[in-house]
Amino acid sequence: MCDCCSEQKDIYLPEMATITKRRMLNGTELFMHLEMDSGKELEHAPGQFVELSIAGLGEAPISISSSPTQKGIELVVRNVGSLTRAIHKLEVGQKIGVRGPFGSLYPIEQAKGKDLVFICGGIGLVPQRSFIRYVLDNRKDYGKVTVLVGTKCYDMRLFREELALWSERRDMTLMETIDEAHDCWNGNVGVVTTLIPKVESDLPKSVVLVCGPPVMYKFVLMALAEAEVPADSIYVNLERRMKCGVGKCGHCQINGLYVCQDGPVFRWSDLALVPEAI
């Protein structure tokens, strides 16, 4: 044991950040923009997450939804428990604890020059948005960009204004679907896998990025296998229970992998022999 590490910082100590913007995206999802009180940027990469905390109520892993090309970070928090309920009550100007960024990144480098297909189910759009925006900010580095967004029902749709802007862009294709038909909805109805055959990119040569609820992966991955997308060009973004965020506590482990460190973004070929992954 060396002593050179004694000046190391405490990995469990959150830094304080201030909420600079907030709005509800739908009935349960709160969008927040944070700036670190230190004045520094978190310097995250797309795909990474932070541990967000309110002292006294606990800590939860939350994906970063913004691109590192912009100032501050943007997060989306679903109201599912007492911590997130308390976060929903915070107002602009109030403080929140942040640890991170943690975890693996989207294949920013490996994907350069290739066509990208994002498959997003429900709240899975949140982390994907980080990479999508990064790609749009570095548009020339990447080939065709297709974004598939599936949402359970009309009222749950996230980032509606932003999706409207994306749908008007000529340098990307957005396809959206909802699982259950709705009076105000003229678009696709059905699960997100139904959009896969409509993708115009050469799927086997594209990089495909998947994020959604646990049940979604199996079906999407089957569809991608059918479309002959090789496993090493598919990236999935997984959710697990994480306590520490730094590969110690063991909660997020799937077989030998720690989602908080080896993930949350995994190349599917690396998970093929990891039975607990999906």
């Binding site: 006294g56 109520l57 606990g58 428990g81 007492s82 911590l83 309920r85 308390a86």
Partner: protein, 248 residues
């Protein structure tokens, strides 16, 4: 900020759980600093119909008690069942194993018919009204009670263990009761008590009720290994376990 109003009510029970609140000793001064106790018959003369949190001790055994608990439920925002009698029916449910008329006759003889001795099947509180939280144990553990109350007061969901007593028993370095060829219900009973009984050389008799998913089948199968019988196990499981889930 106004302090939350708390009321404490008792039904069929021994009042030992209320006593654990008193047993907070000096901490009870901390408690009354952060809540207004507006009704608590055992400890004070004041009464109120307006409260945010109702703490319910005891089982429901009579029709008039069902009405009373429904009224309490309608008046409070959070209803907490306090102790085994309230959370699982407790020792009172042993009665349900018998014919009620026979039970009355056994205790009161020729007077069993008197109207004030009327009784019904014992029910846990959640069998009558919706319960928000359960503080388990016979009696409740005062430290756990304090931490549940504090969690609720800061708006946090209290942590109530869903793992067996063995976790806490091992942490206290007790020698397993099974190594003495004694039955202990620790492996299927919810922790949170700090394994108090096995730490004092006594088997767990299950006062906190089952974990959510007790492996009762395993409990039955290990009997042989320790020279015990399934009937021995049944004797122990029935004490606080009547009608709360799978049995042997």
């Amino acid at each position: 900020m106004t302090k939350p109003r708390v009321a404490i009510f008792d039904f069929a029970c021994c009042e030992g759980c209320q006593l654990q609140i008193v047993n907070l000793e000096e901490e009870i001064l901390d408690l009354i600093n952060v809540v207004d106790v507006v009704e608590w018959r055992e400890a004070m003369s004041e009464q109120s119909h307006e409260y945010d949190i109702a703490l319910i001790e005891g089982s429901i055994t009579r029709p008039e008690d069902e009405k009373r608990i429904e009224i309490i439920r309608s008046r409070c925002k959070i209803l907490i069942a306090l102790g085994s009698c309230a959370t699982i029916g407790g020792i009172n449910k042993l009665k349900n194993k018998f014919d009620l008329e026979e039970v009355k006759h056994c205790v009161y003889g020729k007077d069993a018919h008197m109207p004030h001795l009327e009784t019904g099947m014992t029910k846990a509180v959640h069998e009558v009204v919706n319960v928000d939280y359960k503080i388990h144990g016979c009696p409740i553990d005062r430290k756990e009670f304090a931490s549940v109350i504090r969690a609720l007061l800061v708006g946090k969901k209290p942590v109530i263990p869903d793992y067996p007593v063995c976790v806490e028993c091992k942490a206290r370095e007790n020698i397993c009761r099974y190594e003495y060829n004694e039955i202990c219900l620790g492996p299927i009973i919810r922790a949170g008590c700090g394994a108090r009984c096995p730490s004092n050389g006594f088997r767990c008799f299950g006062c906190r009720g089952y974990v959510d998913n007790p492996n009762v089948e395993a409990a039955r199968e290990v009997m042989d290994k320790y020279g015990l019988t399934v009937e021995d196990l049944r004797q122990k499981m029935v004490l606080f376990g009547c009608g709360q889930g799978p049995t042997v």
